[in-house]
Subunit: 510 residues, 2 copies
């Protein structure tokens, strides 16, 4: 552990005051955009824009240099020309600023000359005990204690408990966009840039003791000290699941990575094996990363790989079964005694097999009755509920119909809508009581309309993420099961409670 | 070919008059909802609701029986109780209705008794030369000549040129939702139900000569006459690409399919091999199906597997390269002469390799210059353009800023926005001129905000589908390349024009 890690952490992620060096009024410059992102995202600390010309930046005083500032500065954000970076750092050192984010590009990523300059910058930092993020970084975002959006990427982020460390600013932003779309909150986002000083492993170590971070997403092209990285992973991953996307998995991709971050990718099979051993969850795309995060953050851990499927249509059951088979999950055959119990609550035409195909249940509670019977009698580890959302869709179609008068549509529309909301309520209650993953698959999420928004909002408000297709839910469930088995995390049930805070609820202040 | 296929096609997909038997004023019944879907979707033919109680259905006269109707009826839609289906069919025969869609369930899917009933229904149809869709079908949708939404699934569909044949109504609807969300138009949607009479192969044959259908999507759990199906596929697929998702690929999935549609899945390896040989494109999920459809419908066919990548950020290039490698696509190394040509137009810090990493181009045309140079000098078969959309995002952030006054944001916002729209225009022009796939990957589509809608709308209006991630674009490109190689479809370039109508434009009447 870095001795002063608490101080570095504070300086970068919880600064009370920042100096923004290279502030600009020119909208086309990063010296404008990053400052604009910081201000509009609502940073509550003090911001000191700096530019030798002084003047003002949309109502804020612009200081001509650091020396003019009376206050202590916790963090410098540097957006000046590359020729001025060294001199700027020296001034930061004089001001005793403990850390700097160097956005400026044109260093080791551009060749020998740039590498030389980067080395000189690093030496200044080392000599003055300053720590550096970057250079050539897109910046960082920190949600707590107040939003610090010191990044090139615009757009609202939800405060939450998933951190992102990315060896590509674009991938980092893109992952954050994808999490935001699925309503998953972010604690910290780090674009590690050229990693002249602080490296992926250092950020990992900083996040280890961050009480706001429960899950760590990584985009990695290569780690410089593999041994240290995997030792950290082994220590951290059982408590804070790590979800990793590797760039440069193929030989030709590794060559592209080499030209991008200079990362020596090393042998990919070895890297994968190390990830498996240390409990790192590997994924093959950003979308898969988000699906896995949602499962980690919103559901209890599956204690085994036995899945029960409850479906409102046969086809969904079939493709879900295929997906279970190809992801190493098992669908137990139902015992005769379970079938007899289900017979009592299900409509006469039910499938009498797993998947449990209800076709069109005549009342909502048959679904939750089936869930309870399956879990209690077959010792099922997780349930998928397929075919939810269509009642809500129909309710909306009635409500906005040009054919049915309002007086005819009002009551049925309300009943249909409330029925489905009640089902959500029951399912959420069962997840909490039974402490098994019960995963709603809301197929009409695929259809980009407002119809399902209330459903999702309700689930979000209870920390549950719905999936738009069975395949995505099953992939994520299988990954989390594998993780749970590897890291032998004490299960939610054993501990008597779910230890993972639901990031989806973070925006409500839990 | 079925001798009267033209007549059957007309009757089912282009009826001038339909009898809706089992019309209901009860919102909870399919006898209400399907009729409501037909009326609200805007069917232009005549609709005759039938119910023994007579009366009216939201302003339409309800006939007590078929005999009361003077008009000829092209299509019967039957939603009565299963006990009444036989009698209803006899009456349809008396009225000389050539085809009926039997929505009613409770037939062979429920066991022996139901199978017996289904057989009797089939015999009545055969004796009277009537053709049957279903029973136990969710219905059909036909976009042309006017929308006939005779299906349980609600929600708007875009008229276009992709047909769906599904051995699961839910999967069929779900695929149609996914196509609609990506703005791909649908020509026909068939839920084939129990396939008592018309089977998947029959629908395939009906669509073979449908001038409104260019691409055929299939969800198949099993085909009863494999030989006929694959002979048809071999004949049809070179002209009308077929994209197939197989339910029951795993042994356990096949068991679930057996219990769903009674399909004998057969050996999956043999099925796959037959698909490969006959040019059927197989996919593993509905989302992949939509990605492939978009590529087929909106881009010229790739003549080879050599890909050029142009990216506005290194990380995207790396993951795109990995995806090419794992999908069998090749990224040629650039010749020295090409590098020298690119040196003249690109910023000094460009990557000098494929992926061509521009970092942040100082003007839009460097992107399209690079596209042309790559295609002309390296004989590249397809180009991916990564990192598009961020300028539009920034323009929107400025426009709605609470910090920048309108007079400061207006011009830069407009310039930024117009710059990116101009790039889209240039790319669309290049696709048409160079006749190679040039695929825009708009990463911020992943971020569910209005910022990118104008971009997508512009692309849609020119028949081009954007992809939200490089992986999806590359997967689809590789599938289409494989298809093109197998079916040896004369390329767009050889023929001098792209023979595939762009379904994305269909709503504009092209």
């Amino acid at each position: 552990m870095i001795p002063d890690s608490r101080k570095i952490f504070s300086s970068i992620f919880e600064p009370r005051s920042i100096a923004f060096i290279g502030a600009s009024n020119n909208l086309y410059k990063w010296g404008f955009n990053i400052l604009h992102n910081i201000v509009t995202a609502g940073f509550k600390g003090k911001i000191y824009p700096i530019n030798p010309h002084g003047g003002s930046w949309y109502g804020m005083k612009v200081y001509q240099n650091l020396a003019q500032i009376q206050d202590n500065i916790d963090l410098a954000i540097i957006v000046v020309k590359k020729e001025l970076v060294k001199d700027t750092l020296v001034k930061c050192a004089l001001k005793k600023i403990p850390a700097a984010i160097i956005i400026t590009a044109g260093f080791s990523e551009t060749g020998n000359e740039g590498s030389q300059l980067e080395q000189e910058v690093l030496e200044i930092a080392r000599k003055n005990s300053m720590r550096i993020v970057g250079p050539n970084t897109m910046g960082i975002f920190s949600a707590w204690p107040s939003p610090l959006q010191a990044t090139m990427a615009s757009g609202h982020k939800i405060p939450g408990h998933v951190a992102i460390i990315a060896q590509s600013g674009n991938l980092g932003s893109s992952i954050s966009y994808r999490l935001t779309k699925r309503n998953i909150g972010i604690s910290r986002l780090i674009s590690s840039g050229n990693e002249a000083d602080l490296k992926t492993a250092d950020y990992l170590e900083l996040l280890e003791n961050d009480p706001k971070t429960d899950i760590i997403c990584l985009y990695v092209e290569g780690v410089r000290d593999g041994r240290r990285f995997f030792e950290l992973a082994k220590r951290i991953s059982p408590r804070k699941p790590m979800v990793l996307l590797k760039g440069g998995r193929s030989e030709i991709g590794a060559r592209a990575a080499m030209s991008h971050t200079g990362a020596m990718a090393g042998n990919n099979d070895v890297f994968n094996a190390m990830c498996r051993q240390t409990g790192i969850i590997t994924v093959d795309s950003m979308d898969e990363m988000v699906d896995v995060c949602g499962m980690l953050i919103s559901q209890p851990r599956p204690l085994g790989n036995r899945v029960g499927i409850i479906t409102m249509g046969g086809g969904w059951g079939v493709i879900a079964t295929d997906a279970c088979a190809s992801n190493g999950l098992v669908l137990p055959r139902l015992k005769e005694s379970t079938i007899r119990m289900l017979d009592k609550v299900l409509p006469p035409y039910w499938s009498r097999a797993n998947p449990v195909d209800l076709v069109a249940p005549n009342r909502i509670t048959v679904i939750t009755d089936a869930v309870s019977i399956l879990i209690e009698n077959e010792d099922i580890d997780a349930i998928l509920a397929l075919g939810i959302g269509y009642a809500t869709l129909r309710a909306m179609v009635w409500r906005f119909s040009t054919v049915i008068p309002k007086e005819d549509s009002e009551i049925p529309s309300k009943q249909m809508y409330e029925g489905e909301m009640h089902l959500m309520e029951l399912l959420v209650g069962q997840i909490k009581k039974l402490e098994r993953p019960i995963i709603p698959v809301i197929d009409i999420m695929a259809f980009d309309r407002a119809e399902y928004h209330d459903l999702l909002k309700y689930l979000d408000s209870h920390g549950i993420m719905a999936y738009p297709s069975p395949e995505k839910a099953i992939y994520a469930l299988a990954k989390v099961f594998e993780y749970t088995r590897t890291t032998r995390v004490s299960s939610a049930r054993d501990k008597g409670k779910n230890t993972i805070k639901t990031g989806l609820q973070a925006q409500e202040g839990t």
